[in-house]
């Protein structure tokens, strides 16, 4: 049973039209934690807004929980929970007032569905009399999630929920999502952070309104075509330049502490030959070892 079905969905803005979402199709199974992964401007928010019936598509069709996003928008609005990218609660209302307001908005009460949000709400409960505008970023996020969940939605849309949130809160947030998934809620989440992709069951990699690949994170990593190496020296930026000009090297990208490289052809002595060459060129403290690709490697590979 598919909870979200997208067929050839397209969205353009302005005149002359700029394509934000370019004829994409994907399915999300019931109870799945599905991630839309892509940089800013990839079209994530546009897709979410079309699926939550906030925007009309310029082409294609889509359904949520079996309802058409254009014709049956009223039914969808009763069944989904939506958390926009920007913190969107009433800053001048207290934590408690916000939660009660959104519960009433969906014709329910906080008491009725308290069990669902209890784990999350308990963390912000000490501040329930505080105005939402005075909460920290992580706590705002938790409150927003509570408000999006308080009516027990069947499908939950979270648009970049972890943007602007510290590392610890991000980790907590993803653990909360896993627990929600266990309750049978279908969750669509978007994020520009590639490291969060592996926390989803299935992901769609997005770039400029197009889907590069849809699969489980493990499968996407498995399908990376080359053996990847991590390399490091004391002169990183020079090293990057040198490797990119090296005829043996196929790709070379900077990944924090290391550069990730792949070779056009791997022979028995490829690694030692490169090390020797770089040593002669003047690099010190060289390190080279095999490494598994990350989602970001896959993304860059698919992008080219």
């Amino acid at each position: 049973m598919m909870d979200v079905q997208v067929r050839g969905l397209r969205k353009t803005y302005g005149k002359p039209p700029v394509t934000a979402v370019d004829t994409i199709s994907f399915d999300v199974k019931k109870g799945e934690l599905f991630g839309l992964i892509g940089p800013d401007g990839a079209g994530k928010t546009s897709i979410f807004r079309m699926l939550t019936t906030l925007l009309l598509p310029d082409g294609g069709t889509a359904s949520v929980n079996g309802f058409d996003i254009v014709k049956d928008y009223k039914f969808i609005r009763e069944r989904v929970g939506y958390m926009p990218g920007k913190f969107s609660l009433y800053q001048d209302l207290t934590v408690e007032e916000n939660l009660h307001f959104f519960a009433t908005l969906f014709n329910t009460t906080v008491e009725e569905n308290y069990a669902l949000v209890k784990d999350i709400y308990i963390q912000i409960e000490p501040f329930k009399k505080r105005r939402a505008g005075n909460l920290s970023g992580g706590m705002k996020q938790k409150l927003a999630l509570c408000c999006a969940l308080i009516h027990r939605p069947l499908v939950l849309f979270l648009d970049e929920p972890t943007t602007g949130v510290d590392t610890v809160s991000r980790k907590e947030f993803w653990e909360m999502l896993k627990r929600l998934k266990e309750q049978g809620i279908t969750i669509l989440v978007s994020t520009p952070y590639m490291d969060e992709a592996t926390l989803c069951e299935r992901i769609a990699l997005l770039q400029e309104g197009k889907i590069l690949s849809i699969d489980t994170p493990a499968n996407i990593i498995r399908s990376y075509p080359d053996q990847l190496f991590a390399i490091k020296s004391d002169q990183m930026s020079w090293l990057l330049k040198e490797l990119r000009n090296n005829p043996e090297v196929k790709t070379c990208n900077s990944f924090g502490e290391y550069h990730h490289i792949s070779f056009k052809e791997i022979a028995a002595d490829t690694e030692s030959a490169l090390i020797n060459y770089l040593k002669k060129a003047g690099h010190s403290n060289l390190e080279l070892f095999k490494t598994a690709p990350t989602i970001e490697d896959c993304f860059i590979n698919l992008m080219n």
């Binding site: 925007l55 009309l56 009433y90 014709n107």
Partner: protein, 368 residues
């Protein structure tokens, strides 16, 4: 129903927790009423005048006393020689001089008429006009009281009556206009800003993705401003009756009924503006400019509509506050009932219904 009441309560929280909104809502009317009522009035008080009395007889003395009685004039000096008058004007100290000819009383009693000379500083023609008319009314008053006592003493009494506003009070003209201005400004501004704020903060997205009927959102938003505007109206009326001695002759109920219509028209205008703007600043500027200028120009309380070119008079007919102004003047000052203003009320009602209809029709159930 619970949805609705929760929504209305939420809107009240927004208003009462934002000092800027509160100040705008309740400070603006008070400031405007006081400003227009006191500072910007066209009534002239305490004009310094001189009197040159060659007659020094009972009637001239009585007239001089009457002139100094009210708060229009302050007698600077009683001169004995007309040559000194010019000096006073040149110094700019006085605005008006009154000259009684010798034998004033005798002439009046024997011939039944006599002249006094009124000299005004016409470098400011408006002021000159106003102050000479004050003198005129004082003299006329005196004649009338004399005529009652001794009917034969004067043959002709010129007919000059100032109806509704015998003391030429400024407030009677301004209060109905300012009331319209305040109601329009506050309502249009408040609704447009409060809806656009939801857009700007992103809460509109959540409201739209919920089962609540968008119309309910709008009505719930309008309710607090509607009620607060009625409170505002009461404050304005209290201020103008107690502070500005404004007469109130008609039905309070009728006035509030008509005002409710104007408020509704203003609320729907605010809604229309919020539909086509994305930021609070833009909404504020459009509301201020779009409301302030037409209301000031075309209501009729600052510039008489009768003197405008036909084209502008036609435009003025489209401004709701023009009709409201006519109605309020009729109710408050003339004390007329509904039968006298049904035409204007009908026009205002039609405008309100049309604006409400358009704004509901144009309300977006999606983001764009």
């Amino acid at each position: 129903m619970k949805q609705f009441s929760t929504f209305v309560r939420k809107e009240f929280y927004h208003v009462f927790r934002d000092t800027k909104t509160l100040l705008m809502l309740f400070g603006l009317p008070v400031v405007l009423i006081v400003l227009f009522g006191f500072a910007l009035t066209n009534e002239i008080k305490n004009t310094r005048i001189v009197i040159c009395d060659y007659a020094k007889d009972p009637i001239s003395t009585q007239l001089t006393e009457l002139l100094s009685k009210g708060d229009h004039f302050k007698i600077d000096k009683i001169l004995t020689h007309a040559g000194e008058i010019e000096a006073g004007f040149k110094e700019g100290k006085i605005k008006l001089a009154i000259l009684f000819p010798p034998g004033f009383s005798q002439e009046l009693i024997h011939q039944g008429k006599a002249e006094i000379q009124v000299i005004a500083d016409a470098s400011d023609p408006n002021t000159a006009n106003t102050v000479t008319s004050y003198v005129h009314s004082v003299v006329l008053n005196y004649q009338q009281t004399r005529a009652l006592a001794k009917p034969e003493s004067f043959q002709i009494i010129p007919e000059l009556r100032m109806i509704y506003n015998p003391e030429l009070k400024g407030a009677t003209n301004f209060v109905p206009g300012v009331t319209a201005l305040v109601l329009l400004l506050v309502c249009v501004l408040m609704t447009s800003v409060s809806i656009v704020r939801e857009k700007e903060l992103g809460t509109m997205e959540i409201l739209l993705v919920s089962p609540i009927n968008p119309l309910l959102v709008i009505i719930a938003k309008a309710v607090p401003y509607f009620l607060l505007s009625l409170v505002n109206l009461a404050v304005i009326l209290l201020l103008s009756v107690s502070l500005l001695d404004m007469p109130f002759n008609g039905s309070v109920f009728l006035l509030f009924g008509v005002s409710s219509m104007l408020i509704l028209a203003a609320l729907s205008l605010g809604l229309l503006i919020s539909n086509s703007t994305a930021s609070q600043q833009t909404a504020m500027i459009i509301s201020l400019m779009g409301m302030l200028i037409p209301t000031l120009l075309f209501t009729g309380f600052m510039f008489p509509l009768e003197n405008m070119p036909i084209a502008l008079q036609v435009i003025a007919n489209l401004v709701p506050s023009k009709w409201y102004y006519i109605i309020v003047k009729a109710i408050m000052i003339k004390g007329l009932g509904f039968s006298a203003i049904w035409k204007e009320t009908l026009i205002l009602a039609a405008m309100t219904v049309a604006l409400l209809f358009i704004s509901f029709k144009k309300f977006k159930i999606r983001l764009s």
